[in-house]
Amino acid sequence: MVKLKYDIEGGNFNRAGNASSQVKRVLKQLNIDQRLIKKIVVALYEAEVNIVAHAYEGTMEINISPEKIDMILQDKGPGISNVEQAMQEGFSTASQKVREMGFGAGMGLPNIKKNTDLMEIETSVGVGTTLRMTKYLNNVE
């Protein structure tokens, strides 16, 4: 079992993607199937950007076993008041500044769902959000 953990800084777009990029490097070293790495990277990056765009701080935890990769992104932040709405393509609460950078198109959570096998959101308004994602390693389409 390989375990990784990274801190994510809220609001710092210059560093957004750094944690995902480090995980990608490790997955390549572990010789995980390229097609799976591509999907995992999309989901991780979107989740990382969500923390940067919406939360104060957070962490990315990765547990890699021969069967699957579990990814847990936990943040201290505003939480999500309506998860069902947040999951809809096109819905976003991102600020104008974030949208001008080309984020906040409401495609992040749908991208995560498309690229993972399991996805679960636990959130508390005013406290924070935990996103759990799983990718099975024997499930290459």
């Binding site: 993607g17 990277v41 990056y45 950078m101 984020f103 495609m107 991208n111 498309k114």
Partner: protein, 110 residues
């Protein structure tokens, strides 16, 4: 086609010099929405955009895109060029608008 040939044929500005110009191009993707590129661009694509900040480099690197082409004479800031060089992502520039540039690249690649 290699990135270097695209630079030569279209007279593009290479902000990152010779970095990554030997990369082989496999099609392209045009979008200014970062999640759209993240979700739909493919490895080896040319990415045509007017977005000009650090996250563009991060996405191009994560997706292993062939290069980024900034339209309408947009010039990236020195720190963006620096990051692109570190990530070995060619950042190119064109004075054309997105529509015209798309057409020319499409014709060259197909």
């Amino acid at each position: 086609m290699k990135v270097s040939e695209l630079i030569e044929k279209l007279g593009l500005t290479a902000f990152t010099g010779a970095v990554g110009v030997e990369r082989e191009i496999a099609g392209g993707y045009t979008s200014d929405l970062l999640s759209d590129v993240m979700g739909n661009a493919k490895e080896g694509n040319v990415w045509i955009t007017l977005q000009n900040h650090m996250n563009v480099i991060a996405i191009a690197s994560l997706k292993e895109l062939a290069c980024i082409i900034l339209v309408k004479g947009i010039t990236p800031a020195p720190e963006i060029i620096e990051k692109a060089i570190a990530e070995e992502i060619p950042v190119l520039g064109s004075n054309e608008n997105t529509f015209n540039l798309n057409g020319k690249i499409y014709a060259l690649l197909n």
